[in-house]
């Protein structure tokens, strides 16, 4: 469902991705971890069709990028630490705006279902600027769920959330995982990533330095592995 081969991206003379290879199967929930500056957001932006690689092959939902970007966008939901919402519009107006951009039929039903899924149906007529950060992030997920995407990308969605809001986001992400969507989430939160994902990848210095299934993996052991992998990659670089 998501495939990258030899993916490279540099900003000026500074290489950020140095040959990323990854494959995520349909319905799989994968967590992408790595230190700051490892290239997680750059990788996410390339997969989300927002940025073009300098070299390598990328295929999302069966379509090669950048040629199939328009097809991919119809099947993709993206959540970042920016909510991509308009604070001076209500929750419902925001979703209606995006429903028009995605040419969605039966928008009322979809908007109601998406808001119910994230527990915001009672706040649908409130301006987004009156929402807490956690509520805004839940609305951002409703926005991403609106076109019923087969593939979802979450780029550090926990940034700026308090513990209660993070727990609510966990619940929403579990529902997303159970819906059979293919999910790639980048996060710095190791225990949370392990609890949610089927597999975890460590991106360090622009390459996938480690990949392991989460089944039976203990957070403490993984924290040691993570530190070791990041250290090794730093020395090798």
């Amino acid at each position: 469902m998501i495939e990258a081969r030899g993916l490279k991206k540099a900003f000026g003379l500074r290489p950020v991705l140095r040959g990323v290879d990854l494959e995520i199967a349909s319905g799989e929930f994968v967590a992408l971890m790595g230190p700051n500056g490892a290239g997680k957001t750059t990788l996410m932006r390339i997969l989300a069709t927002l940025s073009r690689p300098n070299a390598g092959l990328v295929r999302v939902a069966g379509f090669l990028l950048p040629a199939g970007a328009a097809e991919v966008r119809q099947r993709l939901g993206v959540v970042t630490h920016h909510t991509l919402l308009y604070s001076d519009l209500t929750a419902e107006e925001n979703l209606r705006f995006y429903a028009r951009l995605y040419a969605l039929g039966r928008a009322d039903g979809r908007i109601g279902a998406a808001l119910a899924q994230v527990g915001l149906e009672r706040r649908r007529r409130d301006l987004v600027r009156t929402f807490s950060r956690g509520m805004q992030q839940r609305l951002a997920i409703a926005r991403a769920l609106l076109p019923d995407p087969a593939v979802m990308l979450f780029d550090e969605p926990y940034t700026g959330l308090d513990p209660d809001a993070a727990l609510m986001l966990d619940e929403v992400l579990r529902c997303v995982a159970q819906s059979g969507r293919t999910v790639l989430i980048s996060t710095h939160d190791l225990p949370r990533g392990l609890a949610l994902a089927h597999r975890v990848l460590i991106l360090s210095r622009g390459v996938i330095a480690h990949a392991v299934p989460t089944a039976g993996l203990r957070p403490a052991d993984f924290a040691d592995t993570y530190a070791q992998v990041v250290r090794q990659a730093a020395y090798a670089g």
Partner: protein
């Protein structure tokens, strides 16, 4: 345990496969972007109020700086110049903020992630910017008419103002989307925009002063033709270039 995977091959909106469906979607997207900009602005009054206050300050400053007992001919030339200087200053302010806010809030990415034609995004933003510029002009013209004692509400003059505003919003939206990637975008936009907009500004000032002086149509027509030509060329160029300007 992994849930049953959902198929990826199904497109969200099947009518986009047909040319008529794509054309309908294009127009709906343009309408949605204009509606969104207007609705957000009506609630926040962040941009329009700043543009109006700034425009009024510009013409008041010019009014006090220039002699009040000018001859009719001098008033016509000065009035046309002041109108377009105020339009350029406030237009640049509005263009910069309109796209910078989308970039800073990340909402530009939200639109770029949607399966929409980039030219629909351009047209929606350009129409929104044009509406804001025209709203400011609607306030400026009566104020200028009073301060400079000029017949500012003639139908032909309104046409000239409309054509000039279209050209300025067309090229301004394109260059503002280029400047928004720069850290010094507040400085960058005027530097990029003013040289490119010189033809539209010269034509607009000449046509405006011609209309105010009740000149013969033969004298005004070349400037109006230049405005129309500029509008067509820059709208067409922006349609082709916007995709490359707005994407990384």
């Amino acid at each position: 345990m992994q849930a049953e995977p959902r198929p990826a091959a199904r497109p969200v909106a099947t009518d986009l496969a047909q040319p008529a469906g794509r054309a309908r979607h294009f127009l709906r997207v343009v309408g949605a972007i204009v509606w969104k900009d207007l609705a957000a602005e009506l609630r926040s009054r962040e941009l329009l109020s700043a543009m109006i206050v700034f425009a009024l300050l510009v013409i008041l400053t010019f009014n006090f700086a220039l002699e009040l007992d000018r001859s009719p001919a001098a008033r016509e030339r000065t009035g046309a110049g002041v109108l377009w200087v105020a339009t350029v200053f406030t237009g640049t302010l509005g263009l910069n903020r309109s796209l910078a806010m989308e970039k800073d809030r990340g909402s530009l990415d939200g639109m770029l992630l949607a399966p929409i034609d980039r030219s629909a995004l351009y047209l929606g933003k350009a129409l929104g910017n044009l509406l804001f510029i025209l709203l400011v002009e609607a306030i400026l013209l009566p104020v200028l008419a009073i301060l400079f004692n000029l017949p500012m509400l003639r139908p032909l003059l309104l046409g000239v103002v409309g054509l000039g505003a279209v050209g300025y919003a067309a090229v301004g939206t394109l260059l503002a989307s280029l400047a928004m990637h720069s850290r010094s975008r507040d400085v960058m936009l005027p530097i990029l925009l003013l040289p490119v907009a010189v033809p539209v500004l010269v034509a607009a000032v000449r046509a405006t002063s011609g209309v105010l002086a009740a000149s013969a149509w033969d004298e005004i027509a070349p400037w109006i033709n230049l405005l129309i030509g500029y509008d067509v060329i820059f709208i067409a160029a922006a349609f082709m270039l916007f995709e490359y300007v707005v994407e990384e």
